[in-house]
Each structure stands twice: as C-alpha cells, then as structure tokens.
C-alpha cells in the first residue's frame, strides 16, 4: 500500500533560487515562499505539508534540475531502489 504521506512535493532548499515559478504553477496553492533564507540568500520555496495532489507542475516549471522532487501518489519507498 502506498504511504498516506504521498503525493508530496519536496524542495531541496539549498538548490532553490527562489524564482517562485513552482508557487505560481501549483493548482492547490500548497507551495509558499519560506520566510527564511537559504545559503544562497534566497527565500526558498517550501511545501506547506498538506494538499499536494502530485500533478508535477512544480517539478516541470522549476528551472533547476534538482531543486524539487515530487513523490507521486503511487510512490512506495520500500519498492524504490
């Protein structure tokens, strides 16, 4: 059984450049700018923790290869290699 934690969007905060494209693209408005700054000095994006539907919009709108990971509904950490 898939974990109830998924779907879920996860921002790799130090690789985020704070451009806000993921936030604008999220249909559920569950991504927000953090009030904190990352090591590069950007207000990074973060997931509020609930409401992600796993559409992947944030992943595809994000220009950084490794700033966002989206765990989809059928993600099962035990099955991942």
């Amino acid at each position: 059984m898939a974990d109830a934690k998924y779907p879920r969007s996860e921002v790799n905060l130090d690789k985020c450049k704070g451009c806000g494209l993921c936030i604008a693209a999220c249909p559920k408005k569950v991504l927000v700018f953090s009030s904190k700054l990352n090591s590069k000095g950007y207000h990074y994006a973060e997931y509020t923790g609930t409401g992600c539907v796993g559409c992947g919009n944030c992943f595809y709108n994000c220009p950084e290869p490794d700033a966002i990971t989206v765990y989809l509904r059928n993600y099962d950490p035990e099955k991942e290699v």
């Binding site: 693209a25 220009p63 950084e64």
Partner: protein
C-alpha cells in the same frame, strides 16, 4: 513504466564537474530562466528514450554556452551561430548518434542565420532546440532578431522600431518553407499546460532523431527575466500576453508516417583509405640524411613573391616538399591577389625543427623576389643578416639593403635558355640548395617524379636540368 517520482533526470550529469567554481550542484542560469525548464525536459526525454549515451549535444554561444556542464551526453561547444554546422559534421561522422543543436535566438537567427537555413535545407539528421527569449541574454539584454516591435532593450532604448530595425523574425515560418525538414513546431514555456506540450514536442523530436528521420526543429518561447528586467512569474505572463499573439504556437511541419530514414554515405575515417584516394602512399617517406647546414639557414622563414604564372606557388611547394624529406617541419601558405592569372602572388614557407608558429613569413629570413614590385614591397621586411635572392633578368634596380646577403640570379633567363620559362621554379630550388647547403642536387632530382606526378619524362628531365643550372650558377658566381 509509470513514474512514481519526479526527480532530477538521468540525462543530467550527477555532479557538474566541468563547471567552474564551488557550486557544482546547481546551474549557472538566473532564477526563473526558461533555459533551465527546457534543459529538464530534454534531460528527462533522453532518459526515458534511453538515448543519453547515444546523444551528442552542441552548445551554442549565449547563456546556454555551458549546456555541456549539465548534460551527460557527448558535447561540443561551437562558435557563435555555428552549432548547426558543427552538428552537421558530428551527425555525418556519427550517423548512429542523436545530435542536438541547442541555440538561442541571437545565435540561431542573427549571427547563425545562414547556418540554420542551410542545415534545414539539407535536412541534416539533427534536432534543433531553438530558445526564443526575444533578446540577447548573455551579453546583457540587446535586441535580437526576435525582439518584439516596441520592446525596450539596451540597443533599442526607445523600443524596437521596425522602420530601422526590421520586424521580428519568425523562424518556424522560415524553416517550414523548406522541403526537407521533417518536423517543425513552436511551443511555449509560459504555464504548466504549455510546458507539458513542450515536453511532448521535445520527446517527439528526439524520438524522430533516434529513428534518424531527418531535421527536427522545435522553437520554444522562453523567458529571460534578467534581460527583460522582470520577475520570473511576470515574465511568464509577458510571454503569454506579448509573444503568443506574434508567434503562433503549433505544428508547422510534420511529415508523420511519410518521414523517412535519412541515410548518408558513411564518411571515410581511415587515414590509409584517404591517402589511397588522394594518391599518397604512406610509406613514401625518403628520409634523406642532412648535410652540413650553416647556423643561419637552419631555421628558415621564406617569402617567395612575384606575379601569377612565375611559378611562385610551385617554388614554395617544392621547397617545402623537399625539406620534408630531410625531416624538417614545414609549412606553405599561399596568398593570391584577386586575379586568377597575372596578378601579384606570394607564398610563405617555413622550414625548421620544432614547432612552426605563424605560417606567414612576416619577417622572412629569406626573400625570393621574382619581379620588381615584389622586391620593392618585401625587401624591407627581411630580417637583418637575412638573405635576398632576386631575379636579375626582370629586376632592373639594385636592392637597397646592405645588411643582408644578396644573390642576383638571372632566373627567368636561365629557364628560357633551357627552353621553357616554366622551369624557373626548379632553378630556384637549385639555387636555394647551393646557397643554404640544405638540399643535395641528386636528392632533389630523385624527388622530381613525385613532385611532377603524372607529367611526361621529358618535363621531369627538363626540371632536373633546371635544378642543376640553378645550383651551378650559385656555385660558380658567389
């Protein structure tokens, strides 16, 4: 297989080890730049199509000059606008590879305009990803061919004026004028649904390329938040409001099932085969032993000058060819006037051990002047202590330099006496041999059949006489 996770695609290098500086885990692109979005779509498609190891990506000049930092493919970085030409060569030499030409609008539509047109018209087996962000990003936001009417850039501070700057170039429309391209589509990155469509276009182009189905062109309307001086989210809105009406999205060409596999003749890469085709045999090196060459003639930079038809080029080639057989490094660089015949002509020859730097004999150690204008033009350039040989049959003035060795030789007259003005070149070689001690007459003569390949024996014999005449003249008179 259905994805369970969306994460950094395998088309990217794990750690960007080629990238300068400490940050080898993120791109150099500005926050919100469309290049990054397209990079991700390409990297993902290459992973999903299983072509990462079979792809060679050509990076352009522009902000994506460093695309090779990121993609885990083969990479070349091309000069500005030349990516389609480099892609052409790459694809022809590696017909089984997927070759991507990744280009911005300055690169593709301005400086490289003709390159892309020719590659499209030839239907090269390449994929072109064309990032149209309506500006030169890297150089700080100058007008591009794709800049919109009225758009303010650093070079159009009052907005692009079509009366002075022309109209925005619509490259999909241009490229789809040609018969050869297989697939031409314009897509956009301005919101999530359109990014999905771009994703589909990227995959389609790469799939076609994997099947070697000719020329694929995907124009991607993109953003340059820095050049536009706009925040990234506003930039996306600007694409939608301003760019879409001018640059209609959609498929401009899709040959679909009619697209065929393009097979080109396999290039010959084997040196032995190429030599054979050129009639050069690899084991023809003679390796003459060197004689005693005085110090001043060991490192030669020679200018041979005269008018067309005086055997200037042949003299230079023969000097270089003979020297080669004594184990010297040589170069020969011709320089013609605009005329085919009768104009001025000169060539530079370097003969030395060690690496030859500039091929042009700007400060020659020897000048061989075959006519008066050449003497007047180049006499001053000879290095102090250098050597001047001049054709005293045609040159009726005295050289002015006193700090160089001068040999006045009636080159044309001697050739005429032998019965053919055209053997002047080999008179020159004979004279050179006598002056420098670098060549032996019998060695030169033994090379004549090779130098005059395909010529009648009588011609070869006459040239042998010319070598001896030049040699003897110097020995008897100086």
């Amino acid at each position: 297989m259905k994805k369970t996770i969306l994460k950094k695609p395998k088309g990217f290098i794990d750690v960007y080890k080629h990238k300068a500086g400490a940050e080898k885990d993120r791109t150099h692109y500005c926050p919100g730049c469309g290049h990054g979005i397209l990079h991700k779509l390409i990297a993902e498609a290459m992973e999903d199509l299983d072509i990462v190891d079979d792809t060679i990506l050509i990076s352009p000049v522009g902000c994506s000059v460093f695309a090779y930092y990121y993609f885990d493919t083969g990479n070349f970085q091309a000069a500005h606008g030349r990516a389609p030409a480099v892609a052409t060569a790459t694809s022809r030499a590696n017909p089984d590879k997927v070759v991507i030409s990744y280009q911005g609008d300055g690169d593709l539509a301005a400086i490289g305009g003709n390159n892309i047109i020719q590659a499209a018209n030839r239907g090269e087996n390449i994929v072109v990803f064309f990032v149209n962000n309506a500006i030169y990003g890297m150089t700080g936001g100058q007008m591009a061919p794709t800049t919109l009417e009225g758009q303010v850039t650093t070079t159009t501070p009052y907005g692009r004026n079509t009366d002075t700057d022309g109209y925005p170039m619509k490259m999909c429309e241009v490229i789809s004028q040609f018969t050869a391209p297989t697939y031409v589509e314009r897509v956009s990155l301005h919101d999530a649904p359109h990014i999905r469509k771009t994703r589909a276009a990227v995959r389609k182009a790469l799939q076609n390329a994997k099947e070697r189905k000719g020329f694929q062109f995907v124009e991607v309307l993109s953003t340059c938040p820095s050049g536009w001086k706009m925040d990234p989210v506003k930039s996306m809105e600007w694409v939608k409001e301003k760019m879409l009406p001018l640059y209609p999205l959609g498929v401009y060409r899709d040959k679909g099932d009619e697209a065929r596999v393009i097979n080109r003749p396999v290039p010959i890469m084997e040196p032995a085969t190429v030599w054979e085709k050129l009639g050069i045999s690899a084991d023809a090196d003679v390796d003459f032993p060197r004689g005693d060459v005085p110090e001043q003639y060991k490192k030669m930079s020679i200018r041979v000058a005269g008018f067309g038809g005086q055997g200037i080029m042949v003299t230079g080639q023969a000097l270089a060819s003979v020297a080669l057989e004594y184990g010297y490094n040589v170069s020969w660089l011709p320089s013609y006037g605009p005329e085919m015949r009768g104009g001025t002509a000169n060539c530079s020859v370097n003969i030395q051990d060690g690496v030859i730097g500039a091929a042009e004999a700007v400060k020659p150690t020897m000048l061989l002047a075959m006519n008066r204008p050449s003497l007047e033009k180049f006499e001053e350039s000879v290095v102090p202590g250098g050597t001047l040989i001049y054709n005293s049959t045609l040159i009726d003035i005295e050289p002015t330099r006193t700090d160089i060795k001068v040999f006045a030789i009636p080159i044309t007259g001697m050739a005429d006496e032998l019965g053919n003005t055209r053997v002047q070149s080999l008179v020159n070689i004979g004279a050179y041999a006598a002056i420098t001690g670098a060549f032996r007459v019998e060695d030169i003569v033994s090379l004549l059949p090779k130098l005059f390949k395909g010529k009648k024996q009588a011609i070869i014999d006459l040239n042998a006489k010319a070598v001896k005449a030049g040699f003897d003249f110097v020995k008897e008179n100086f």
